[in-house]
Amino acid sequence: MFRGFAVSFDLVGTAMMQLSDHGEYEGALRVNIHDEWFPIAEIGYGKANHELDEVTGITYRTKAPYFRIGIDKNLLKDKHGPYRLYGGLRYGFTSYKVDLEHQNFPDPVWQWDTGFGVKDEPCSYHWLEAVLGVDAKIFGPLHLGWSVRYKRRIAHDDGVIGKTWYVPGFGIHGDTRLGGTFNVIIDI
């Protein structure tokens, strides 16, 4: 019944961290039950540092851990082969703090200098994901895999600032609901 564990690390979030102003470092622990059911826990650290937007002049910073828990099912007929096609669900949660700054700008009517900023505004986010993924054995315990995810927010607290922009683990709110990972997986 129980066929071991696998640990994995996502490369997409790491690449985004290097190539843009936000991204995640994420790892996962997956339990193998009969090559058919795979309970999984994902833990990551998401970070955004959007300095002085060139159009709006807004600076947005946040960093926080996030957690996902869920289960995948091997959809292939041959459950015990070297390749797997996963379909699964996740529940995700994060609690994070946002720093928001806007450089001073004049009130259009009264001409007073106005700026706004908040620091360490506490926020939280709960969401669900539907996952479709692939896992292929390369050699020995090493696998490579990717997944496509459809994310949906189920509860949130954006603090007093209105809305939040980047949410650790979820991504940019209001952007596309699709996301993906590319995983390096090692069987234990």
């Binding site: 709006t56 806007h102 700008f105 009264w110 001409q111 007073w112 809305k163 940019i172 993906g180």
Partner: protein
């Protein structure tokens, strides 16, 4: 070829993003003009509203100078029963001069609007804005009979009326 097409579509889907800034993003205070019975009243005297900019100049300005200058925020409203006025981004109290002009003279009332200013953030792609909580209003009674605060919350909502103005000429 089909595999290439699939990859292109997948990459395009993942690359899609949108900027969801609200189309209606003006924050202003809505006024309705009513008679003492509460019925809608089209104002017959020309109404202009002016304010003074915080540029260090003396606030006791001659009213004709105010009406001709850049400080006019509502200009010669007539035969209307509603109007909207801007509200300052961040100042605890706005001071407005309501100038009612008939064929003979101009009567001026001063209105002080006390408020809290709440920064509102949508996205790093959207301009900064402020929402407001109106805390109270004081006014002189030269031409204004009453100015009642109806709703305290000033947001992007242009339908909610915040003040009811009853002019003395509505007798």
């Amino acid at each position: 070829m089909r595999k290439l097409l699939f990859v292109i579509v997948a990459v395009w889907l993942a690359a899609c993003s949108s900027i969801d800034c609200p189309v209606q993003n003006i924050v202003s205070v809505q006024y309705e003009i009513r008679d003492k019975a509460g019925a809608a009243l089209s104002i017959k005297d020309t109404l202009s509203v002016v304010t003074t900019r915080l540029d260090g100049s003396n606030v006791l300005l001659d009213i004709t100078t105010l009406l001709d200058g850049k400080n006019v925020i509502l200009n010669k409203l007539i035969d209307k029963s509603a109007f909207s006025l801007p509200i300052s981004y961040s100042h605890p109290e706005d001071v407005l001069f309501f100038c009612f002009t008939d064929t003979v003279k101009t009567v001026v009332d001063t209105v002080w609007i006390e408020k809290d200013d709440i920064p509102h953030f949508e996205s790093v792609d959207c301009s900064a804005s402020f929402f407001h909580e109106l805390k109270g209003v004081r006014f002189t009674r030269n031409a204004i009979d009453s100015l009642v605060l109806l709703n305290k919350s000033v947001t992007y909502d242009q339908e909610t009326v915040h003040f009811r103005l009853v002019p003395k000429s509505s007798d």
